[in-house]
Symmetry: C2
Subunit: 203 residues, 2 copies
Amino acid sequence: MKSNSKSRMSREERAEQIVSIGKELMLKKGYGFTAKDIANAIGISETMIYCIFPNKKKIIEAIYSKIFTSVEILGIPKEASENYRTELIDYFICFYKNVTERNMLEFHYLYAMDKSGNRPDLSLIEKSAPNLNGPLENYIISGINKGYFRKVNAESAAEFIYSAFFNFVFFHELFLREKLSAEELKCKISTFIDLFINGINKI
Amino acid sequence: MKSNSKSRMSREERAEQIVSIGKELMLKKGYGFTAKDIANAIGISETMIYCIFPNKKKIIEAIYSKIFTSVEILGIPKEASENYRTELIDYFICFYKNVTERNMLEFHYLYAMDKSGNRPDLSLIEKSAPNLNGPLENYIISGINKGYFRKVNAESAAEFIYSAFFNFVFFHELFLREKLSAEELKCKISTFIDLFINGINKI
Protein backbone atom coordinates (compact mmCIF):
# COMPACT_ATOMS: atom_id res chain seq x y z
CA MET A 1 0.00 0.00 0.00
CA LYS A 2 2.70 2.46 0.97
CA SER A 3 4.67 1.99 -2.24
CA ASN A 4 1.45 2.26 -4.19
CA SER A 5 0.65 5.58 -2.57
CA LYS A 6 4.17 6.78 -3.40
CA SER A 7 3.86 6.48 -7.13
CA ARG A 8 1.37 7.00 -9.93
CA MET A 9 -0.20 10.08 -8.35
CA SER A 10 -0.49 13.40 -10.11
CA ARG A 11 0.65 16.54 -8.36
CA GLU A 12 -3.01 17.47 -7.78
CA GLU A 13 -3.87 14.09 -6.29
CA ARG A 14 -0.82 14.26 -4.03
CA ALA A 15 -1.74 17.78 -2.89
CA GLU A 16 -5.24 16.59 -2.09
CA GLN A 17 -3.86 13.66 -0.10
CA ILE A 18 -1.55 15.95 1.89
CA VAL A 19 -4.42 18.31 2.69
CA SER A 20 -6.68 15.44 3.69
CA ILE A 21 -4.10 13.85 6.04
CA GLY A 22 -3.11 17.31 7.27
CA LYS A 23 -6.72 17.98 8.24
CA GLU A 24 -6.88 14.80 10.32
CA LEU A 25 -3.63 15.68 12.07
CA MET A 26 -4.75 19.23 12.71
CA LEU A 27 -7.92 17.94 14.35
CA LYS A 28 -5.84 15.71 16.60
CA LYS A 29 -2.89 17.95 17.35
CA GLY A 30 -3.96 21.49 16.49
CA TYR A 31 -1.28 23.63 14.92
CA GLY A 32 1.34 21.35 16.45
CA PHE A 33 1.45 18.93 13.48
CA THR A 34 4.55 18.95 11.25
CA ALA A 35 5.21 18.22 7.59
CA LYS A 36 7.13 15.18 8.82
CA ASP A 37 3.97 13.88 10.56
CA ILE A 38 2.11 14.08 7.26
CA ALA A 39 4.98 12.45 5.36
CA ASN A 40 5.08 9.56 7.85
CA ALA A 41 1.33 9.06 7.72
CA ILE A 42 1.34 8.86 3.93
CA GLY A 43 4.64 7.01 3.66
CA ILE A 44 6.51 9.54 1.54
CA SER A 45 9.52 11.76 2.21
CA GLU A 46 9.25 15.18 3.85
CA THR A 47 11.01 16.59 0.78
CA MET A 48 8.14 15.50 -1.43
CA ILE A 49 5.74 17.50 0.76
CA TYR A 50 7.86 20.62 0.38
CA CYS A 51 7.93 20.12 -3.40
CA ILE A 52 4.18 20.70 -3.36
CA PHE A 53 3.72 23.10 -0.42
CA PRO A 54 6.57 25.55 0.29
CA ASN A 55 5.75 25.65 4.03
CA LYS A 56 3.32 24.55 6.72
CA LYS A 57 1.33 27.76 6.59
CA LYS A 58 0.42 26.99 2.97
CA ILE A 59 -0.81 23.53 4.00
CA ILE A 60 -3.02 25.06 6.70
CA GLU A 61 -4.37 27.59 4.22
CA ALA A 62 -5.19 24.77 1.80
CA ILE A 63 -6.98 22.81 4.55
CA TYR A 64 -8.94 25.86 5.53
CA SER A 65 -9.88 27.01 2.06
CA LYS A 66 -11.00 23.50 1.09
CA ILE A 67 -13.43 23.38 4.01
CA PHE A 68 -14.85 26.82 3.51
CA THR A 69 -15.20 26.57 -0.23
CA SER A 70 -17.62 23.73 0.29
CA VAL A 71 -19.77 25.87 2.55
CA GLU A 72 -19.65 28.73 0.11
CA ILE A 73 -21.06 26.48 -2.61
CA LEU A 74 -24.10 25.83 -0.45
CA GLY A 75 -25.28 29.39 -0.64
CA ILE A 76 -28.81 30.62 -0.18
CA PRO A 77 -31.01 32.04 -2.95
CA LYS A 78 -29.78 35.49 -3.96
CA GLU A 79 -33.31 36.78 -4.17
CA ALA A 80 -35.83 36.41 -1.38
CA SER A 81 -39.20 35.11 -2.58
CA GLU A 82 -42.53 35.06 -0.77
CA ASN A 83 -41.53 31.60 0.44
CA TYR A 84 -38.64 33.06 2.39
CA ARG A 85 -39.54 31.16 5.54
CA THR A 86 -39.12 27.78 3.78
CA GLU A 87 -35.98 28.97 1.99
CA LEU A 88 -34.31 30.02 5.22
CA ILE A 89 -35.25 26.79 6.98
CA ASP A 90 -33.85 24.74 4.09
CA TYR A 91 -30.69 26.79 4.06
CA PHE A 92 -30.00 26.36 7.74
CA ILE A 93 -30.71 22.62 7.68
CA CYS A 94 -28.25 22.31 4.79
CA PHE A 95 -25.71 24.48 6.61
CA TYR A 96 -26.06 22.48 9.81
CA LYS A 97 -25.39 19.19 8.01
CA ASN A 98 -22.44 20.63 6.19
CA VAL A 99 -20.92 22.09 9.33
CA THR A 100 -21.36 18.98 11.42
CA GLU A 101 -20.18 16.57 8.73
CA ARG A 102 -17.06 18.53 8.15
CA ASN A 103 -16.30 19.31 11.76
CA MET A 104 -15.82 22.94 10.90
CA LEU A 105 -16.40 23.91 14.47
CA GLU A 106 -13.46 21.86 15.59
CA PHE A 107 -11.37 24.06 13.37
CA HIS A 108 -12.76 27.20 14.86
CA TYR A 109 -11.75 25.88 18.22
CA LEU A 110 -8.33 24.75 17.22
CA TYR A 111 -7.80 28.13 15.67
CA ALA A 112 -8.85 29.94 18.77
CA MET A 113 -6.03 28.61 20.93
CA ASP A 114 -3.34 26.32 19.61
CA LYS A 115 -1.33 23.83 21.66
CA SER A 116 1.36 26.34 22.51
CA GLY A 117 -1.26 28.78 23.79
CA ASN A 118 -0.78 31.17 20.87
CA ARG A 119 -3.53 33.11 19.21
CA PRO A 120 -4.63 31.68 15.87
CA ASP A 121 -3.94 33.25 12.52
CA LEU A 122 -7.11 35.31 12.28
CA SER A 123 -6.62 36.32 8.66
CA LEU A 124 -7.66 32.82 7.60
CA ILE A 125 -10.89 32.96 9.55
CA GLU A 126 -11.68 36.49 8.46
CA LYS A 127 -11.13 35.53 4.83
CA SER A 128 -13.69 32.78 5.11
CA ALA A 129 -16.23 34.31 7.53
CA PRO A 130 -17.85 36.69 5.03
CA ASN A 131 -18.76 33.70 2.83
CA LEU A 132 -21.27 32.65 5.45
CA ASN A 133 -22.69 36.02 6.43
CA GLY A 134 -22.58 37.79 3.05
CA PRO A 135 -25.18 35.71 1.12
CA LEU A 136 -27.60 36.08 4.03
CA GLU A 137 -27.16 39.85 3.98
CA ASN A 138 -27.86 40.02 0.22
CA TYR A 139 -30.91 37.88 0.73
CA ILE A 140 -32.27 40.23 3.40
CA ILE A 141 -31.60 43.29 1.21
CA SER A 142 -33.52 41.67 -1.64
CA GLY A 143 -36.42 40.90 0.72
CA ILE A 144 -36.52 44.54 1.86
CA ASN A 145 -36.46 45.77 -1.76
CA LYS A 146 -39.30 43.46 -2.69
CA GLY A 147 -41.36 44.63 0.28
CA TYR A 148 -41.36 41.26 2.08
CA PHE A 149 -39.35 42.50 5.08
CA ARG A 150 -39.63 45.72 7.02
CA LYS A 151 -36.69 48.13 6.74
CA VAL A 152 -33.94 46.80 8.99
CA ASN A 153 -30.17 47.04 9.07
CA ALA A 154 -29.47 44.08 6.79
CA GLU A 155 -25.92 43.55 8.04
CA SER A 156 -27.03 43.36 11.68
CA ALA A 157 -29.99 41.16 10.80
CA ALA A 158 -27.71 38.71 8.97
CA GLU A 159 -25.25 38.73 11.87
CA PHE A 160 -28.07 38.23 14.34
CA ILE A 161 -29.64 35.16 12.78
CA TYR A 162 -26.30 33.66 11.80
CA SER A 163 -24.92 34.17 15.33
CA ALA A 164 -27.93 32.61 16.99
CA PHE A 165 -27.76 29.66 14.69
CA PHE A 166 -24.00 29.22 14.81
CA ASN A 167 -23.97 29.24 18.58
CA PHE A 168 -26.79 26.71 18.62
CA VAL A 169 -24.84 24.30 16.36
CA PHE A 170 -21.72 24.86 18.39
CA PHE A 171 -23.45 24.18 21.67
CA HIS A 172 -25.24 21.01 20.58
CA GLU A 173 -22.54 19.51 18.46
CA LEU A 174 -19.38 20.50 20.19
CA PHE A 175 -20.27 20.90 23.85
CA LEU A 176 -23.13 18.50 24.36
CA ARG A 177 -22.07 16.12 21.55
CA GLU A 178 -25.78 15.58 21.09
CA LYS A 179 -26.85 14.43 17.65
CA LEU A 180 -30.26 15.86 16.80
CA SER A 181 -32.63 13.78 14.68
CA ALA A 182 -33.70 15.26 11.35
CA GLU A 183 -37.11 16.01 12.85
CA GLU A 184 -35.80 17.68 16.01
CA LEU A 185 -33.43 19.71 13.89
CA LYS A 186 -36.18 20.94 11.58
CA CYS A 187 -38.42 21.82 14.52
CA LYS A 188 -35.64 23.75 16.30
CA ILE A 189 -34.60 25.62 13.19
CA SER A 190 -38.19 26.46 12.27
CA THR A 191 -38.71 27.99 15.72
CA PHE A 192 -35.57 30.11 15.34
CA ILE A 193 -36.57 31.30 11.87
CA ASP A 194 -40.05 32.11 13.10
CA LEU A 195 -38.62 34.21 15.91
CA PHE A 196 -36.31 35.93 13.47
CA ILE A 197 -39.17 36.73 11.10
CA ASN A 198 -41.87 37.72 13.60
CA GLY A 199 -40.05 38.65 16.81
CA ILE A 200 -41.64 38.31 20.24
CA ASN A 201 -43.68 41.49 20.12
CA LYS A 202 -47.43 41.22 20.42
CA ILE A 203 -48.81 42.34 17.07
CA MET B 1 6.60 40.29 50.36
CA LYS B 2 6.90 36.55 50.11
CA SER B 3 7.27 35.99 53.85
CA ASN B 4 4.42 38.42 54.41
CA SER B 5 2.13 36.47 52.07
CA LYS B 6 3.08 33.29 53.92
CA SER B 7 1.67 34.35 57.23
CA ARG B 8 -1.20 36.26 58.75
CA MET B 9 -3.73 35.02 56.25
CA SER B 10 -6.92 33.28 57.19
CA ARG B 11 -7.85 30.03 55.51
CA GLU B 12 -10.47 31.92 53.47
CA GLU B 13 -8.02 34.57 52.36
CA ARG B 14 -5.51 31.90 51.37
CA ALA B 15 -8.14 29.98 49.41
CA GLU B 16 -9.06 33.17 47.58
CA GLN B 17 -5.41 33.83 46.77
CA ILE B 18 -4.96 30.29 45.41
CA VAL B 19 -8.05 30.61 43.23
CA SER B 20 -6.95 34.01 41.95
CA ILE B 21 -3.43 32.85 41.02
CA GLY B 22 -4.88 29.58 39.68
CA LYS B 23 -7.14 31.55 37.35
CA GLU B 24 -4.18 33.47 35.91
CA LEU B 25 -2.24 30.25 35.37
CA MET B 26 -5.23 28.53 33.79
CA LEU B 27 -5.59 31.39 31.32
CA LYS B 28 -1.91 31.07 30.40
CA LYS B 29 -1.52 27.31 30.43
CA GLY B 30 -5.01 25.81 30.22
CA TYR B 31 -5.53 22.70 32.31
CA GLY B 32 -1.76 22.13 32.26
CA PHE B 33 -1.06 24.17 35.42
CA THR B 34 -0.05 22.34 38.61
CA ALA B 35 -0.48 22.96 42.32
CA LYS B 36 3.29 23.45 42.39
CA ASP B 37 2.99 26.29 39.85
CA ILE B 38 0.53 28.03 42.16
CA ALA B 39 2.70 27.40 45.21
CA ASN B 40 5.75 28.87 43.45
CA ALA B 41 3.84 31.92 42.25
CA ILE B 42 2.58 32.70 45.76
CA GLY B 43 5.77 31.63 47.52
CA ILE B 44 4.29 28.94 49.76
CA SER B 45 4.71 25.18 49.89
CA GLU B 46 2.73 22.77 47.74
CA THR B 47 1.60 21.07 50.95
CA MET B 48 -0.11 24.25 52.09
CA ILE B 49 -2.15 24.23 48.89
CA TYR B 50 -3.26 20.66 49.52
CA CYS B 51 -4.27 21.58 53.08
CA ILE B 52 -6.90 23.85 51.56
CA PHE B 53 -7.81 22.07 48.30
CA PRO B 54 -7.62 18.24 48.28
CA ASN B 55 -6.80 18.13 44.55
CA LYS B 56 -6.45 20.17 41.38
CA LYS B 57 -9.99 19.46 40.24
CA LYS B 58 -11.31 21.22 43.35
CA ILE B 59 -9.18 24.27 42.53
CA ILE B 60 -10.59 24.35 38.98
CA GLU B 61 -14.13 24.04 40.33
CA ALA B 62 -13.49 26.93 42.71
CA ILE B 63 -12.13 29.07 39.86
CA TYR B 64 -15.13 28.26 37.74
CA SER B 65 -17.78 28.74 40.38
CA LYS B 66 -16.29 32.07 41.42
CA ILE B 67 -16.56 33.40 37.89
CA PHE B 68 -20.06 32.18 37.24
CA THR B 69 -21.46 33.24 40.57
CA SER B 70 -20.65 36.81 39.69
CA VAL B 71 -22.62 36.54 36.46
CA GLU B 72 -25.53 34.98 38.24
CA ILE B 73 -25.76 37.96 40.56
CA LEU B 74 -26.27 40.22 37.56
CA GLY B 75 -29.63 38.76 36.67
CA ILE B 76 -32.39 40.47 34.80
CA PRO B 77 -35.71 41.61 36.26
CA LYS B 78 -37.90 38.61 37.04
CA GLU B 79 -40.95 40.36 35.70
CA ALA B 80 -41.12 41.98 32.30
CA SER B 81 -42.53 45.49 32.38
CA GLU B 82 -43.74 47.63 29.48
CA ASN B 83 -40.21 49.00 29.33
CA TYR B 84 -38.88 45.60 28.37
CA ARG B 85 -36.82 46.96 25.48
CA THR B 86 -34.80 49.19 27.82
CA GLU B 87 -34.54 46.42 30.41
CA LEU B 88 -33.12 43.96 27.90
CA ILE B 89 -30.65 46.48 26.51
CA ASP B 90 -29.44 47.33 30.02
CA TYR B 91 -29.13 43.65 30.87
CA PHE B 92 -27.03 42.81 27.83
CA ILE B 93 -24.75 45.81 28.28
CA CYS B 94 -24.19 44.71 31.86
CA PHE B 95 -23.63 41.11 30.79
CA TYR B 96 -21.18 42.15 28.07
CA LYS B 97 -19.08 44.15 30.51
CA ASN B 98 -19.08 41.37 33.02
CA VAL B 99 -18.10 38.77 30.46
CA THR B 100 -15.32 40.80 28.94
CA GLU B 101 -13.90 42.03 32.21
CA ARG B 102 -13.72 38.55 33.57
CA ASN B 103 -12.46 36.87 30.43
CA MET B 104 -15.13 34.22 30.79
CA LEU B 105 -14.86 33.41 27.14
CA GLU B 106 -11.26 32.46 27.54
CA PHE B 107 -12.44 29.88 29.97
CA HIS B 108 -14.98 28.50 27.59
CA TYR B 109 -12.20 28.09 25.11
CA LEU B 110 -9.75 26.54 27.45
CA TYR B 111 -12.42 24.14 28.51
CA ALA B 112 -13.25 23.20 24.98
CA MET B 113 -9.90 21.69 24.23
CA ASP B 114 -7.13 21.50 26.76
CA LYS B 115 -3.42 21.31 26.02
CA SER B 116 -3.38 17.55 25.82
CA GLY B 117 -6.23 17.64 23.28
CA ASN B 118 -8.74 16.22 25.74
CA ARG B 119 -12.37 17.20 25.93
CA PRO B 120 -13.20 19.51 28.82
CA ASP B 121 -15.16 18.59 31.90
CA LEU B 122 -18.58 19.54 30.61
CA SER B 123 -20.37 19.11 33.91
CA LEU B 124 -18.82 22.37 35.11
CA ILE B 125 -20.06 24.30 32.12
CA GLU B 126 -23.50 22.71 32.22
CA LYS B 127 -23.83 23.55 35.89
CA SER B 128 -23.28 27.22 35.15
CA ALA B 129 -24.97 27.58 31.75
CA PRO B 130 -28.59 27.59 33.00
CA ASN B 131 -27.77 30.59 35.19
CA LEU B 132 -27.49 32.69 32.07
CA ASN B 133 -30.39 31.33 30.07
CA GLY B 134 -32.87 30.68 32.87
CA PRO B 135 -33.55 34.25 34.03
CA LEU B 136 -34.14 35.28 30.43
CA GLU B 137 -36.66 32.48 29.98
CA ASN B 138 -38.57 33.51 33.13
CA TYR B 139 -38.57 37.06 31.91
CA ILE B 140 -40.10 36.05 28.57
CA ILE B 141 -42.75 33.91 30.28
CA SER B 142 -43.73 36.85 32.48
CA GLY B 143 -43.96 39.08 29.37
CA ILE B 144 -46.26 36.56 27.67
CA ASN B 145 -48.45 36.32 30.78
CA LYS B 146 -48.74 40.09 31.00
CA GLY B 147 -49.68 40.31 27.32
CA TYR B 148 -46.58 42.25 26.25
CA PHE B 149 -45.21 39.47 24.03
CA ARG B 150 -47.00 37.20 21.61
CA LYS B 151 -47.18 33.51 22.52
CA VAL B 152 -43.79 32.00 21.72
CA ASN B 153 -41.77 29.06 22.97
CA ALA B 154 -40.07 30.89 25.84
CA GLU B 155 -37.17 28.43 26.10
CA SER B 156 -36.31 28.76 22.40
CA ALA B 157 -36.76 32.52 22.50
CA ALA B 158 -34.34 32.78 25.43
CA GLU B 159 -31.85 30.48 23.69
CA PHE B 160 -32.19 32.45 20.48
CA ILE B 161 -31.43 35.89 21.87
CA TYR B 162 -28.78 34.60 24.25
CA SER B 163 -27.06 32.66 21.44
CA ALA B 164 -27.02 35.60 19.07
CA PHE B 165 -25.62 37.81 21.76
CA PHE B 166 -23.10 35.34 23.12
CA ASN B 167 -21.68 34.65 19.67
CA PHE B 168 -21.46 38.39 19.07
CA VAL B 169 -19.42 38.93 22.24
CA PHE B 170 -17.29 35.94 21.44
CA PHE B 171 -16.57 37.11 17.91
CA HIS B 172 -15.71 40.69 18.80
CA GLU B 173 -13.82 40.04 21.98
CA LEU B 174 -12.07 36.79 21.34
CA PHE B 175 -11.54 36.59 17.62
CA LEU B 176 -11.25 40.19 16.53
CA ARG B 177 -9.95 41.45 19.89
CA GLU B 178 -11.84 44.61 19.06
CA LYS B 179 -12.88 46.76 21.98
CA LEU B 180 -16.18 48.43 21.28
CA SER B 181 -16.80 51.88 22.70
CA ALA B 182 -19.75 52.23 25.09
CA GLU B 183 -21.70 53.99 22.34
CA GLU B 184 -21.00 51.37 19.63
CA LEU B 185 -21.91 48.66 22.08
CA LYS B 186 -25.24 50.26 22.97
CA CYS B 187 -26.07 50.80 19.30
CA LYS B 188 -25.23 47.21 18.40
CA ILE B 189 -27.15 45.72 21.30
CA SER B 190 -30.16 47.96 20.65
CA THR B 191 -30.30 46.74 17.04
CA PHE B 192 -30.19 43.11 18.19
CA ILE B 193 -32.93 43.64 20.77
CA ASP B 194 -35.06 45.46 18.23
CA LEU B 195 -34.72 42.53 15.81
CA PHE B 196 -35.57 40.13 18.62
CA ILE B 197 -38.67 42.10 19.58
CA ASN B 198 -40.02 43.01 16.13
CA GLY B 199 -38.47 40.50 13.70
CA ILE B 200 -37.85 41.29 10.06
CA ASN B 201 -41.39 40.72 8.85
CA LYS B 202 -43.23 43.60 7.26
CA ILE B 203 -46.09 44.43 9.58
